[in-house]
Symmetry: C4
Subunit: 272 residues, 4 copies
């Protein structure tokens, strides 16, 4: 509902020159982006769902919208005095993500290159080079890097079955030809760095930032609460189911004003 009002506010502005600036200021805040995104997705999803042909895509868009709404819900944590300001330590994750992604790519691409030759299907390349190494971090071990667990039925020889990855290069005994000891050593080193080193590094970074922030906690919290109260103060008072009434009234006023203004401008123009 805040967004609706904001939209009116945005488009009503008489001097259109500052529209771009206003949008820029508004978008700079993360929560506002989430708000707009959720409203947009909701509208698109609703329209799609009401058609017969696009029913399923519409449902999927509404599901994604639900996730965005949930993320938006986390904004209320900024009210908590002790823990609210510390949610910003989540920014540390970006540094960690960068390190992690380099490492995942390094292992994934090398593994894929050693194991499988000339797979033309992009989706299976991404699976092998990114998705699989990523899942290893969370304890889901692959079985294709080990000769001993090789099963000819779990892969398609010339990559024609869309449900199966391409087989590794085979030798004359119909067994994988890649140097098994190399892939196993690579897996061990990867596990050591990704699961032990990087994850524990992240814990250390988090701990450090958490204690660092604590010294400025009070100031940040007061600022956040001021913003939250200001935001709620600017909203109309009735609770959500009846807020539509308030919006309609607001819109009517707006339309009246606009028509008034338009006619006024019109007469001014005529008068000139």
């Amino acid at each position: 509902s805040l967004n609706l009002r904001f939209l009116f506010q945005l488009f009503y502005d008489p001097d259109n020159l500052r529209l771009y600036e206003k949008v820029k200021v508004y978008v700079q805040e993360l929560w506002n982006i989430l708000d707009i995104l959720s409203i947009l997705l909701f509208c698109i999803g609703l329209v799609f769902r009401l058609t017969t042909k696009l029913f399923y895509p519409g449902k999927i868009i509404l599901c994604i919208d639900f996730v965005v709404f949930c993320l938006r819900l986390m904004a209320i944590f900024t009210i908590s005095q002790t823990l609210g300001p510390k949610i910003i330590i989540m920014m540390d994750i970006f540094f960690f993500m960068f390190l992690l992604s380099i490492w995942v790519m390094a292992y994934g691409v090398a593994k894929q290159g050693i194991l499988i030759q000339n797979d033309n299907r992009l989706d299976w390349i991404i699976r092998g080079a990114v998705y699989e190494p990523y899942l290893i971090i969370f304890g889901n071990f692959p079985e294709n890097i080990d000769n001993a667990g090789f099963n000819i039925n779990s892969c398609s020889m010339n990559g024609t079955d869309p449900m199966k990855p391409k087989c590794p290069v085979l030798n004359e005994n119909q067994m994988p030809a890649f140097p098994e000891w190399l892939t196993i050593i690579m897996l061990c080193v990867y596990l050591l760095f990704a699961n032990i080193l990087l994850l524990n590094l992240l814990i250390a970074i988090f701990n450090y930032t958490f204690q660092e922030i604590h010294e400025n906690t009070d100031r940040i919290w007061k600022f956040q609460r001021y913003q939250l109260i200001k935001e709620y103060h600017s909203r109309p008072s009735p609770p959500p189911p009846f807020i539509i009434v308030s919006h309609i009234k607001f819109m009517r006023n707006l339309v009246c004003l606009r028509s008034l203004c338009n006619s006024f401008c019109y007469y001014i123009n005529i008068a000139k």
Copy 2:
């Protein structure tokens, strides 16, 4: 046994007006709630077990009672000087649980909505939307979000088999129709936030609270020990197997007193 005495103390009180207040004070302490709960469950379970028909439910109630007793046992840690006071940091878990539950619900509901259409069975909806995403955090990966691992036998087409979840929406090739790349990306983001971000955030919060509490450790510990000693001082002295004797004596005195009091009151009333 403390509870039995408490019950007598509760019901003996001459002016019944303060009964509600007393209960209120007593219940405010967590350990006391556990005590009462364990006694109640024990009585119910014992009664149920002795019947033939409700033998199995009685056994289950006694099993739950055992868990409550074990939780009660943790109260003895409050005697430890260095670590006792720090058990209260477990309260931090509630903040974490709130964040985690929002995130689990966001992923779970969206995933369920995308995958499975119109499952009417509540238990399978809860499994798909809450239980499954929750287990992912602990390393138990689902296999139904991935086309490549799809097996038509692991699900029932129209949701009639009570032991199998409903199948995802199928296309004309009898393969799942949901956009696979979307569910995989959602899983990756979910894993990143839930397993890495939130768990490490919890570690940082724990570390912080642990160090914070340490400064007040001595004071909290003295207070806890005083309470523990006071509690044990008020208990009868014989060890548990013979404590029943003490209780019987206590009860006899009580009954005598009550009858004495009653007869006294009675005569007072008559005298009036």
Copy 3:
């Protein structure tokens, strides 16, 4: 080799009254216990291995001895200035173990009681009540708490197959009769407390102790190094393969001394 010398020193002592005391002092140090244990196990294992009948038990004892030797090897970390003194924080594990074992037992016994009725085989009870809940902490999920994954072939109906656990109580449809929702909720709560709460509590305790110890690091380290140097100083100088020569010489001296002493005492006695 230190032990051999110690043994000689122990038995040579003229006044046998203090033998018990000496042993007591010696045993109080953990490393010495490991030393004695490894020597004893080695001797027993060697004797067993040389016989034909007890060859396999002897091999097993030698394997265990290898583990004890490896633990003994960790003593050399006490030389490291920064990290040596901090190995003693491993004592914190005992507090954690106590909490964890209560919690594992609480869940395990309750789960076993609800699922399986009157299994007489002790090993399967221990497996169900201790081993299985313990493995859950490390990500090995059980499949028997869930009706949906129930397989009649994975258990033996009346507990006669020694390789399979007893089946849960079945209802008339040959399906498990236990309340599935209860075991699933118990599992969720158990995971939350054991995997998230207790493990992170341990991390917080470790961090705290680590920083606490750091202030006394220098003193502890000097003390440890002094002990290590003293110990090595008292050992004979030749390297391990030739140390037997040194020991033989030491023994010969000892025997000479003892016989000399004995004959001397004998003559003294005669002279009296």
Copy 4:
């Protein structure tokens, strides 16, 4: 490209006596080793790939080279003011690795000795004694330590099948003869020490070092940035695709100089 220049610089040096010293200084820096290694591997891989016979080994070498390049890429993190200096805490991993490797070997060798007798194949011994216990740390549980999960088809009786491990010692009932309770207890103790104790110890060490380093952060960061800028300053200016021109020019100058110098030296020698 820096390496190419370095190579020229190295070999051009008139007084060849200091060649060894220069190499020594250069190699002492980790990043330089990675640079040289990546260039060498690239050249070898390229040559191999262009042949028909060694096409696959060449591809594997190029894959490994990619990993080395990715590691080299991490050098750019040293520019970050707050986190760059802290990457050196990764050195703590070596102490941890030492402890961990002792522990993994202790468990692995003992387990292998108890389970399997006289396996002559080195690769399966390493798998059983090192690889398997290592994977346990990351949640991949073995199934061969438990009688209840024993399957005669998963192992080869006399160790002839190269794809299967040798079977454990069997008794007359064709069941494993090893004391099951011992291997299970060993696994439990191993899990406790490796997964809980050592990993959390590492977290505590990381946290401690992270905070220790923070005090010297500013100084270390300035030093690192100075080195990085100095390094980039010494490089030729054109971007990578055209840098070959710069190198060719540099090489030409070098060759001219060398020929000039040589002819000069030659004439000097003649003049003498």
